[in-house]
Symmetry: C2
Subunit: 186 residues, 2 copies
Amino acid sequence: MMSPLCQPKITARDKILAAAVEISHENGAANLSLDAVAARAGVSKGGLLYHFPSKAALMRAMVETFVARVEADLEDTARNSGNLLSAFVSVTGEECAKPIPGAAGVLAAIAEDPDFLKPVKEFQRRLLDRLQAGAKSADDVLLIYLALEGLRSLRLFDLDVLSKEEQERALKAMRMRAKDCGYSYK
Amino acid sequence: MMSPLCQPKITARDKILAAAVEISHENGAANLSLDAVAARAGVSKGGLLYHFPSKAALMRAMVETFVARVEADLEDTARNSGNLLSAFVSVTGEECAKPIPGAAGVLAAIAEDPDFLKPVKEFQRRLLDRLQAGAKSADDVLLIYLALEGLRSLRLFDLDVLSKEEQERALKAMRMRAKDCGYSYK
DNA sequence: GTTACTGTACCGTCTGGACGGTAATGCTGA
DNA sequence: TCAGCATTACCGTCCAGACGGTACAGTAAC
């Protein structure tokens, strides 16, 4: 119930969330059942329903966890680099280099009920407003934002259309434009 | 079995496909059941299974129909404009102005089994190769391709993050760059 | 005593799909 | 020409199993 050194502390809740994401990614969002999640997480079904009283609650938690993680990453990087747009490029680039943890869960949530995407939409809009507020060229912001969204969606669907080199080249081009766009954080 | 004037001829198969897309869009991909599709299409379940012998077959058909339609639109426009990249911008722009017909079905197919995306991936790769083959700036092609992918994914998820004006501005910027990129069709 | 589970048993509903019909049309040979 | 058979395009029912969710008794740590 408590790790000796109070640091990582992987709770059952975390394991359940992770298992749900894995199953969704491997077997497709439609085949995400509570039984399967519980088994994968090494938890009884009762235990799962203790943490998430319904499937909808599990979905909601997956989306929220995902958004929170992305937001935290972005904020961290932006604080360091002083340029929100550049930070967005970096964070998305890193995320898309390897399979996105949690993204498959978002897909499952959408499949269950499109409304679960609301937190994502709000986060995106908030972000875009902040990006536009401090940028020189509105066109460049939009283009970079959309291109990153495209990159993310390719990863989300495991659509490895771009080669590593192409992806790197695209990111490099975005990084350059982002710098020129001269946005300063906060 | 035969329409008096041999023209449009909306077959039961078409109605089923359309119904499946509608249900997926309205109720979420996970709630797409054969019963619901049959009812919506005004067809019995037996009739549905006559045309699509399994749910997987229905999903596959949805994806293939979608890809074929997009590809045909693109080819048509490209032949007229003489610029494949510009045509891609136009076609995607028009598609994203209103809800994409058929896109929700693709989402349902992914949910059922991620492998159904293969035809999409192949189409995308083919397209990207052709775009790059004739373009002046590889960077611009990649950026525009990704931005369009982003636009499409926003629509796919009904994530109307961008206002109409922003979307129009983004498309305008892409159209300009596409022209400058000077690609000639074929 | 509370928290955080385990384990089992159960329930009603939904789902994919198999199956046995059937009506209309097309085709063929006498 | 027309009987008769084949094919096409469906209909409607049935079923085994999976699913989400409930209920509840027990337990081990804090």
